[in-house]
Amino acid sequence: MMNRRNFIKNFSLIGFGLAGSAALRALAEDIPELEDFNLKIITDDSERAVTLLEAILARSLSVYKNLKFSECPLAGQHVADLVLIKNRRLIDYRNAIDELAAGLREVARSLGLPKKVENPVLMKFYTEDPRRAPKTIDIFGNNILLKRLSLTEDEGAHQITSERGGVTLVIRNKSAKITAATCQHQTCVKMGAINAAGQSLICLPNQLRISIEGQAGSGLDGITF
């Protein structure tokens, strides 16, 4: 089960610090600064959460013309909770005084967060900075997020099991590779190593998808292959 500490740890791998030089760097590179925004919520009532958050975000975040949204079911029991990271800093929305924080407090109160839930959904509202090096790797089985690993810390071999067998995932030098699989075609093994945001290793027979978090191909919306 994922507790609150792990929730924050797992979903704040992009973490603290680094914000100080962001403005300077953006100016130096002559590109508009992209404010970093990352709101993640685990809930068992995604419909209600979306209704509440959509209104709050549209009101509070008109600066974001393209806030990204995605959701996926999580495996097992979790602590439903809400985490906000802005400019790579964890925001204590329970005590902050701005409109967004007040809205998030209302969402948390309305959804009864934090609480233990079965069959939860992870929802993400976020901006994406393609310049940032990817840090996490998500493992999906049958469309459900099974686990999240650090691409930078969790080096070694990981056994990922599925109903039909599974694969061996090796993370080394900030890249991930399937080295063995129980499937017949071994297509996933032949895919080689991935190391960039949005890249995926897919084992269709095992219904496993291993994706590096982030947008693929430096701002591309899709890849034909």
Partner: protein, 343 residues
């Protein structure tokens, strides 16, 4: 003086309000970019949309994925209970009644086969099954004689379509359909129709690399699509822009085995029963995903030299990577779709 002050205040108020009015009129509402991914039709399907309502998109995506599941249940050759599964088991002995939807798709596939001189043939089922591709079996290079014995079954002309009774029969027992060269494209077009019915105008569907893009990513940009390097699956060789158009790629790297240094992949020349040897990949642009899908399969089989001979203003634009890794493309890729090669 008082009158001037009032006028000044009124003017100031108008000036302050103007940007708000303009902003409202230009529709500069915050937009969300909503994405969702699911395993369907034996592949990964990604949906991406730009919309002000996440709620509406979630409903639309749910309906879209549901439609793909429905189509998978109709068309999957691997499911014994699907309509194609029932045809493959029984249509060699007697006509099998199926839905008009499946019949109409088979009819279009047969039309493609006629147009493509049999280099695209949905009666390829016995060959795909023998090699083991797509059937969860081990892929093996089959015995030459067994392959030759099955080749006469690969013949679209022996698919007997009865539109009045909505039945299909096969002219020879043992024939099997495999709609792998067209089903994903058809499903993507159906998904596009459903998203549009839900009022979503700007979206991108990516079904295992076959993409349909509607509208634009935003006011400034069309949707941006990358083309994978066929010999390095984690590298892109080019990118281009797409709007209200589809692209499909057939490649020799999606499913393959290597035996004695030779690659055997899953796109067969229906005339030989062996993997088509002329290309590493072919990407095709077409108004619908179904057309792009069928053309990509066909052009992969005939190769670039044959494409040059048949090419006309009506032929879809294609980008070939031939068997030596040389890239061939037409100027329309650059002029209309802003193709650029990546380092």
């Amino acid at each position: 003086m008082a009158s001037h002050s009032k006028k000044f205040l009124a003017c100031t108020a108008i000036l302050i309000c103007c940007p708000l009015v303009i902003r409202a009129q230009t529709g500069e509402e915050p937009f969300f970019e909503i994405s969702a991914t699911k395993f369907l039709m034996g592949t990964q399907v990604d949906l991406l949309a730009q919309h002000e309502s996440i709620h509406l998109c979630k409903r639309a995506f749910s309906a879209a994925f549901g439609e793909m599941e429905r189509i998978e249940n109709l068309l999957s050759a691997q499911m014994e209970t699907s309509e194609i599964g029932r045809l493959n088991q029984n249509a060699g002995r007697a006509p099998v009644k199926i839905s008009y939807e499946t019949l109409a798709l088979i009819k279009r596939a047969v039309d493609y086969a006629k147009k493509f001189d049999g280099y695209f043939d949905i009666a390829i089922g016995p060959i795909s099954e023998l090699w083991g591709f797509g059937y969860g079996k081990k892929i093996v290079v089959p015995d030459r004689r067994r392959l030759a014995a099955l080749l006469p079954l690969v013949n679209y002309a022996k698919i007997i379509i009865n539109e009045r009774d909505t039945t299909i029969a096969f002219g020879r027992d043992g024939m099997k359909l495999d709609l792998g060269g067209i089903a994903k494209g058809y499903a993507s077009d159906r998904v596009a129709a459903i998203l549009k019915q839900h009022g979503i105008k700007n979206f991108l569907i990516n079904a295992d690399g076959d993409i349909y893009a509607a509208g634009r990513k935003n006011n400034l940009q069309k949707w941006s699509v990358g083309i994978q390097d066929p010999r390095d699956q984690q590298t892109l060789m080019a990118s281009f822009e797409l709007s209200d158009f589809a692209v499909a790629t057939s490649g020799d790297y999606k499913r393959f085995i290597e035996v004695d240094g030779k690659r055997y992949h899953h796109i067969f020349d229906p005339h030989t029963g062996y993997p088509a040897p002329l290309c590493q990949s072919v990407s095709v642009l077409a108004p619908t995903a179904e057309e792009a899908d069928a053309w990509a399969t066909y052009l992969f089989v005939i190769g670039f030299e044959a494409y040059k001979k048949i090419s006309s203003p009506q032929t879809p634009a294609a980008l070939f990577v031939d068997t030596n890794g040389k890239i061939h493309w037409e100027s329309i890729w650059e002029n209309k779709f802003f193709l650029r090669f990546l380092d």
